[in-house]
């Protein structure tokens, strides 16, 4: 991907040869896919084993941590998002989405928790229906 190079570095010597992020020497390797697959299997097995075996009390926290870790593993080892200049805009788009998902998910849960807290069924009945 040469977009970022063109925008930032102008027509430098690197730009003239094009970005080789997808092919050639910097392409994905067997090692990356195997590492990603093994890590993903481990991060899937841990929460399933804990929930099926009823092992830990704070299992929700473990599920959240494993899911977050596995998503990062997928993005790094399968989608090959890295710190290279070619992928600057991919990172920007991902950052934007992470923020939006955080606002939508976190915001919804926060608001609804407060709603449930302030509008107890009993209170609602006495005020509205009687």
């Amino acid at each position: 991907m040469n977009v970022a190079n063109e925008a930032v570095g102008g027509h430098g010597p690197h730009g003239a040869h094009g970005g080789h992020a997808g092919h050639g020497s910097h392409g994905p390797t067997y090692k990356q896919y195997i590492t990603g697959f093994v890590l993903a299997v481990i991060l899937t097995a841990i929460p399933f084993a804990l929930v099926i075996g009823h092992v830990v009390q704070d299992v929700l926290l473990v599920i959240t941590v494993c899911a977050t870790a596995q998503i990062i593993v997928h993005v790094v080892y399968f989608l090959h998002l890295d710190r290279s200049e070619e992928q600057r805009w991919n990172r920007m788009a991902l950052l934007y989405v992470v923020i939006m998902v955080g606002i939508v998910l976190g915001g919804s849960l926060w608001i609804v928790y407060n709603l449930n807290h302030n509008m107890m069924p009993g209170v609602m009945h006495s005020k509205v229906w009687k």
Binding site: V3, A16, A21, P28, T29, F37, T44, I71, F78
Partner: protein, 231 residues
């Protein structure tokens, strides 16, 4: 062009001796400059990169669609209206098998990428066929699960929890089905025309899409199935 070759005489434009040499020089300079510009842009590479960035932005917007569905499920998962609860409906070993199908298909999709980068057409098609079979296995398991739930009366209209469940998991299943169609079309294209630049760019998009679906599934099995059984 210099003044020596063209001059105004009696109100009309006249060409002086040697103008052809100057014109040829100017043309050559222009062509060299043009070559330098086009060599720098490299149309093919740039197009493939732009296509991939565009597809990436589509995937990110798809993430936003799913974030809405995830948020709705997270808010309403407890509203079972006296109907079946997540703990009563979900069979975790079954979900684990589904998960492994999708995860393994993501891995074989990666092997197809490697085969494509190594210019091995038959290996690419072979790994894509394995990926397709695993993806199809996932969809069949999901449809079987839905059919089993509907058979015992756990339909989408039974409760808010079930409406959200079918919308979220069904939307993911629909994406996987679209991914399978995308994959079948690309397999036919590669079989007919080989690993051309166009096919490579499209295969890269298809592989991004497939890996992306596995990421969404991580969210689904964590939030819906695992958390549902714990509650």
């Amino acid at each position: 062009m210099s003044k020596s070759s063209i001059a105004m005489q009696d109100g009309s434009l006249a060409l002086q001796p040697g103008y052809a040499d100057h014109a040829a020089d100017a043309l050559r300079d222009l062509r060299q400059a043009g070559d330098a510009v086009f060599a720098d842009v490299e149309p093919h590479h740039d197009t493939a990169g732009t296509i991939q960035l565009g597809f990436w932005i589509y995937l990110m917007s798809d993430c936003l669609l799913f974030s809405g569905l995830f948020a709705t499920y997270a808010v309403l998962h407890g509203h079972t209206a006296g109907g079946p609860t997540p703990g009563q409906l979900f069979d975790l070993p079954y979900t684990l098998t589904e998960t492994m199908f999708l995860l393994f298909s993501s891995f074989t999709c990666g092997l197809a990428t490697l085969a494509m980068n190594a210019d091995k057409k038959n290996a690419t098609l072979g790994w894509l066929a394995v990926t397709f079979a695993l993806g199809l296995g996932f969809v069949i398991m999901e449809v079987h699960e839905f059919a089993g739930m509907v058979a015992i009366g756990a339909t989408a209209e039974r409760s808010a929890f079930l409406s959200c469940f079918f919308t979220l998991v069904g939307t993911h299943g629909l994406h996987v089905t679209c991914g399978l169609i995308f994959m079948a079309v690309m397999m036919a294209a590669v079989a007919r025309k080989g690993l051309t630049a166009t096919n490579r760019a499209r295969l890269n998009c298809m592989m991004l899409f497939w890996h992306f679906l596995d990421i969404i599934w991580v969210g689904v099995f964590s939030l819906v199935y695992l958390s549902g059984v714990v509650h």
